[in-house]
Symmetry: C2
Subunit: 554 residues, 2 copies
């Protein structure tokens, strides 16, 4: 019955996904929802501060933990979450496993889509929670952790539902063997590989977590959500809503569990290395990501999104200002704390062609810094675009960047935030480098740090960008180019480094964005990660086909 309710959603989303056309199951603007949503959410949030988070349906915690700090107030939220030991978490998941594994794909899909609708009712709460843990501006918090995350979760459900049904439940196999035919009745079932674990990050605690959570669930596995200790609240709401829907549908709430820890006493490795944890999803830095990937050697199925170095190749364009405004927005959006934010901008020393006329190198550089300056000095835009800085180390890195080498074009500085005078903010440091200053630009400089790199020509730019992507990883790449031939050259080179290219973006669309149902997020082919939101490998590795057969006697 529940399945009938959501059948159309599944069909529409499947259709969009296989055609890669535009689809959004949830509206991205808060104004499409309750008018008083934000105010009520603020009230709810303020009531939580300094207290215990009691929405979860996991019982008998060993204690209560929580040290989140709001990047907007730089004060401890002091919200305490129930904490559980590793063996309790695993035992709870084992207890919840059989009923969930043996439920039909239809039931699992319906229960999970129902949960997404409950989560929708919490979009404002999740937005405020995201804002005051990640430092994202309000609008981005709402979009990224609300509708966009729900869409990505739905994408996992759609593909997982479809794939766990891709082979028939039953078939008769009849083999001609001379005078007789041998008949065998065969049955098949997709069986989830076992308990999953999803390790979240501090900057996108919902958007980067739910694809793995829902992919593990839809394929018949319980899941343990291990948020970053700095960003627990947004995903705690998601887990709580999932647990409520589980109970309503007669599953144990521990099909989904939240596993909080603290930076001082982390449990991630203990949990990840537990024999019964079979599937691990991870988003975060490459160092820990490499460790998580090493667990594949111990029989775990691992999906990672790590870090990369994203490039922009500037060859030519038709509108210099439109290009630079778009790029300035890309580097300022959430102060470069997106895994898709560009870091390295390659500009040919001879300048670029704009509408058939040469614009010298210096003019191109000045046009970029002017655009960044204009945005960061615009009191109506700056705070809402840059948001705040999640981790204090990121401010320090942006500050220190002026000592890296090269010419300092713009120094990082505080961005005033009227609403939150204590907000931890930083505008981008912009450096000018020569192409041979390889050591400076051949690594990720997470946060608001931008490097403009002078190359011999576009071929040179492409060659460096390709090599960077292949060796350091890359999640996005921007290119501005009016020549079909050169576009093809850029596309095929970046393709060989498993990096998608966004060409000639201007206006209200940026290279940082990957849309559910259409854009794959991370390719899984370069060191930025081994998985992709959401290709088939992302779901089919989480279950196995088991087929039984029986002789038919007639």
């Amino acid at each position: 019955m529940l399945f009938e309710k959501y059948k159309e959603t599944l069909e529409k989303a499947t259709d969009a996904l296989y055609n890669r056309t535009f689809y959004a199951a949830w509206a991205e603007h808060p104004k499409a929802y309750a008018e008083d949503g934000q105010a009520k959410a603020m009230e709810w949030f303020n009531s939580l501060i300094g207290g215990e988070y009691n929405e979860l349906l996991q019982t008998n915690p060993a204690g209560f933990h929580g040290n989140e700090v709001s990047p907007y107030t730089q004060e401890l939220l002091n919200i305490k979450y129930p904490a559980f030991g590793v063996s309790e978490l695993v035992a709870n998941a084992q207890a919840a496993l059989p009923d969930w594994r043996h439920a039909t794909p239809e039931i699992r899909a319906a229960v999970l889509i129902e949960a997404l609708h409950r989560i929708e009712k919490r979009f404002f709460d999740i937005a405020i929670a995201t804002m005051h843990t990640t430092g994202q501006a309000y609008m981005m918090s709402f979009q990224a952790s609300g509708p966009h995350a729900n869409d990505r979760a739905l994408e996992s459900i759609v593909l997982g539902y479809e794939q766990t049904k891709s082979f028939p439940h039953i078939a008769e196999w009849e083999k001609p063997m001379g005078k007789i035919n041998v008949k065998i009745k065969k049955t098949w079932k997709s069986v989830g590989k076992g308990i999953g674990m999803v390790i979240g990050c501090s900057t996108f605690p919902v958007w980067n977590t739910v694809p793995g959570v829902f992919a593990t669930l839809i394929t018949g596995n319980p899941v343990i959500v291990k948020p970053h200790p700095g960003a627990i609240l947004p995903i705690a709401i998601v887990v709580a809503e999932l647990q409520k829907v589980m109970i309503e549908n007669r599953f144990l709430p521990e099909v989904v569990q939240l596993a909080v820890d603290t930076a001082d006493e982390p449990i991630t490795k203990h949990l990840a290395e537990h024999h019964d944890i079979k599937i691990i999803d991870y988003t975060g830095n490459s160092h820990f990501g490499d460790y998580v990937e090493s667990l594949q050697g111990k029989g775990k199925i691992v999906f990672t999104e790590k870090a990369g170095v994203n490039s922009v190749i500037i060859d030519s364009c038709t509108d210099l200002n439109a290009m630079m405004q778009n790029l300035a927005f890309s580097v300022c959006l959430y102060s470069g704390q997106m895994c898709t934010a560009p870091q390295n901008f390659f500009i040919p020393e001879g300048g670029i062609m704009v509408n058939g006329e040469n614009v010298p190198f210096e003019a191109v550089v000045n046009s970029f810094t002017a655009a960044v300056d204009a945005l960061t000095n615009n009191p109506k835009m700056a705070a809402g675009v840059l948001g705040a800085i999640q981790n204090i180390n990121t401010c320090q890195r942006a500050e220190d960047a002026k000592e890296l080498g090269g010419t300092v074009l713009l120094e990082s500085r505080l961005i005033a935030n009227e609403e939150f005078p204590n907000a931890r903010t930083a505008s981008p440091t912009v450096l000018l480098l020569e192409a041979d200053q390889v050591d400076i630009y051949t690594k990720e400089l997470f946060g608001p740090i931008v490097l403009l790199i002078k190359t011999k020509d576009t071929q040179h730019s492409v060659s460096i960008a390709r090599n960077l992507a292949a060796t350091q990883g890359a999640i996005s790449c921007g290119a501005y180019c009016t020549s079909e031939h050169m576009k093809g050259h850029i596309a095929s080179n970046m393709e060989d480094a498993f990096t998608p290219v966004a060409f000639n973006l201007t206006g209200p669309i940026w290279m940082n964005q990957n849309a559910a149902f259409s854009d794959f997020h991370v390719t899984g082919g370069n060191p930025a990660g081994n998985a992709s939101f959401t290709d088939l490998a992302y779901v089919v590795k989480r279950f196995a086909w088991v087929g039984h057969k029986e002789m038919v006697y007639e």
Copy 2:
């Protein structure tokens, strides 16, 4: 054009595969092919002995290697194969990569199916080569390395072709944004992950190798085939035919390379650990398999088929003799050297119900040993069913098994082979054990060794079999049971250990067999292997989707 020729084959195979119904693209009986096929192949084989194998199109070998021994004559074949250094092999593959990667799925599929038709013309050569390296009897050599292997290869092609086309090449994405719509032209391409390597085994050098070879190739990657040093010739023929078809279609022959080594100077680890080897397929023992799986921690994509302990659960049946004849054949077929051969037979101490009447435990045991005795003493059948023993250690293991403990019911002995008086043969050792003699039966005893284990009841049998499968791995499981309730209990328990169950087989079909397009071979869910012939994970992990996008200005 070539694609048009094979379009129907692809469609038929896809249809069978998704319906899991009977399909065989090649006939399994040699009599369906040339009448003088076997005689000509023997002539060809005899001309090779003691010489250089010169069919390969790889040039400039560093030397020539080859130490294969025929299990039928126990003499060195002395066929020498061109050998290459690891860095040459990888450099050759790199050179062949771009054209193959950027070919369309249609071209790759057509070229690979064309190769299967060329391989078909060599079925007799491959059969003789398989017989004199693996010890398989002639009929099995023909079937397993010929039509059945070709069918498994076609299965990889079909799934890989379909999956590399599962998303569109191009789409227009249009997002409503208030007063305007943003239009983006998007393109996608499936890009092979890089050079593959397939590590073969000594008992099924073609059947177990071609699924990985064709799966890696169809998804756009070059492949290096590393046969077991004891069984090179059968797969060398396959590689040679692939190389010829590559050249005819203007690809470099090094899209597929043979990498021979010797037991004294193995190159497998050097090659597997090479940075540019991205995909590894492996069939063989669990010890080396665990090493290969550990390379996943170093960024390799790894597919394994290792070893397991296969059980038969005897609960009840309608025809005791028919059951025992079927089981005797299963344990004798190729002298238990199949990864699907049963080893542990669980029989309740109270005996079993046969057509509603109790047959006591001892009578069940006697019926089994009598059936094995009858088969191994039947001069018309024994040699053709048991074949010869690939590795001399296997004979020793069968011989030594009588000292393992328990009661020796049958001792291993030589099976006379009229045609090959020097053949290395061994009938099964059959032991009777108590259920508490855990140490003896909780491991794989590769070869002709059968353990009959007395349990309290069928529930007890199921519990042991499930636990063995979950901890030691299992590829197959047989069960004889007339109760629907108990069949369900067996099925769901073995399902939880990711093991397929074959119920009540009698007559000319055995639990050792897994049919292409219908039966998955290995589930990938227990320690017997991490991959499955051929589920979607088997192909989709070998490539990544890369999508580019471009703003549409109107």
